[in-house]
């Protein structure tokens, strides 16, 4: 069970990634009421550029444990992009249960600003470095003009518009409704009034996606400590879990609006509908819409209408991205999974500023990897 959790997030952090991760860890240790020497398990992830501009770090988990002064008997790395932390949380619970470790630190994040300064994202790092690949077909994909991963999601959004008649206004309305939650969360980076017109009038980055429908990469780490008991926190458990990996390139799929989330959520569809709050990966507005449809919350093609007709506030009929989501928090090192988990834990522990009343079950869905390969679906609570 999670005994401590914390974030250290800045729009642009001037010091090193090591200092930033240590800030998140120190706060999480404080909450858990344990010492650094009590940590005996470690799971993290690495992506090019996010740790102080390093394209690759040989044995990076070892380097981090060395710096932080952590001596562990178990270490691992997850490779699912954004939802990696969710998959790490599930694995940590199993490791605790089988006695492999007592206190496992999940440390996820990095410095997105350094990658952003190069005018790329972690998913387009291969464009500036010959030694980085996203696919085995680099020679047939490099040389064209696109701005992946935005273009990849834009292709899905465009197809969704054509096939299901969803509209730019519906996607904009989702951004507006998430902003309303952000204005109440107390920790969002992007706040203030936002209208559908503001979103539609913001620059088109990759048609049909506008600037205000896209996450902004920031610097930040989240630390979650998974222990035998929840300590001072509520004994939140993982009640249902699924993950799925569609490794085909979207171009080789029959339908690019069908996500791996359709499979990761497949075993507990009915339970998903009965949760008290929903934290859905919001790298882009279209990402949320596709998850609403692919996890069975709404029928395929109906997410646009659902956005129009549903109240996403904490006291609304469907509390969604109650902290404002990562579109408003800022996306730490191109991964939103920790933002979802952090807000869910605030809610379940009755610690949120934009608190859902009697929040007992949270549905979390993460999407990530190159071209949306990975999905992690989970219900956590009591």
């Amino acid at each position: 069970m999670i005994s401590g959790f914390a974030e250290a997030v800045y729009k642009k952090y001037d010091k090193s990634a090591y200092e930033l991760m240590n800030e998140a860890l120190s706060k999480a240790l404080d909450m858990a009421g344990i010492q650094r020497s009590d940590i005996d398990g470690f799971i993290s992830t690495f992506m090019p550029g996010i740790f102080d501009d390093n394209v690759y770090m040989h044995f990076f988990t070892s380097q981090i444990c060395n710096y932080l002064g952590i001596n562990v008997k178990y270490m691992d790395s997850m490779e699912y992009g954004g939802p990696s932390v969710l998959a790490a949380y599930y694995r940590a619970e199993k490791l605790i249960k089988d006695g492999s470790a007592d206190n496992i630190l999940l440390l996820f994040g990095g410095k997105g600003s350094l990658v952003k300064d190069r005018k790329i994202t972690v998913d387009s790092y291969e464009k500036i470095n010959d030694g980085v690949t996203n696919t085995p077909y680099k020679s047939l994909l490099n040389g064209y003009d696109n701005i992946n991963p935005v273009s990849d999601y834009a292709l899905a959004a465009q197809r969704h518009k054509k096939i299901y008649r969803s509209t730019d206004e519906q996607r904009a309305e989702l951004a507006v409704k998430q902003r309303i939650n952000a204005n109440l969360s107390g920790y969002s980076m992007f706040t203030g009034d936002l209208t559908v017109e503001n979103v539609i009038n913001s620059p088109v980055i990759s048609d049909p996606l506008h600037l205000l429908e896209i996450v902004y990469p920031v610097d930040g780490f989240h630390a979650f400590i998974v222990s035998k008991s929840a300590g001072k926190l509520r004994p939140v458990k993982i009640l249902n879990y699924g993950e799925a990996h569609f490794t085909k390139l979207p171009v080789e799929m029959d339908d690019i609006t069908l996500l791996s989330a359709s499979e990761s959520s497949g075993d507990f569809r009915e339970k998903i509908k009965k949760c008290d709050l929903y934290e859905l990966y919001d790298s882009f507005t279209i990402t949320v819409m596709l998850q609403l449809e692919n996890t069975g919350i709404v029928e395929r093609g109906k997410s646009g209408k659902f956005i129009e007709n549903t109240d996403f506030k904490s006291n609304g009929d469907f509390p969604l991205n109650t902290g404002g989501g990562s579109i408003n928090r800022g996306q730490p090192a191109y991964m939103s999974g920790s933002v979802l988990l952090y807000e869910s834990l605030l809610q379940l522990n009755n610690m949120a500023k934009n608190q859902v009343k009697s929040a007992n079950r949270a549905f979390i869905n993460g999407i990530g990897g190159w071209s949306r390969s990975h999905s992690v679906s989970m219900i956590i609570g009591e």
Binding site: T135, P136, Y137, S139, L140, L141, G143, Y144, D145, N146, I147, V150, S151, A154, L155, A156, A157, Q158, R159, K162, V204, I205, S206, D207, P208, L209, K248, L249, P250, V251, E252, I256
Partner: protein
Amino acid sequence: MGLTEIYNQYEKYFKGNILPYIKCNNCNYKFYYPRDMCPECGSDNLSIEKSNGNGKIYSYTVSNKNIWAIIEMNEGFKFYANITNSGTVDINKRITITFINKNNKTLPYGEIQD
């Protein structure tokens, strides 16, 4: 057929303004991105075929004035490419394949047929 052989054949076809694809002679699956076995059935009984160069836009996006698209060819395989003419782009628009050499590399592009 090894990967090197496939890539060499692709390059030769590109230079001759031909769009290649790979056909599995066991299950009939057609694909563009090279493997030395069929990703559907695992068979290595593959052949490199020539597309007739006609297809349609499956989806597209415009960024920095460039059109990036998923192109679905008549033979039944899809691949990524830019669209050369801006015209009136839309899903299901008919395209033909054209070839452009940039930085000593020839790649296929889509051209909208109005």
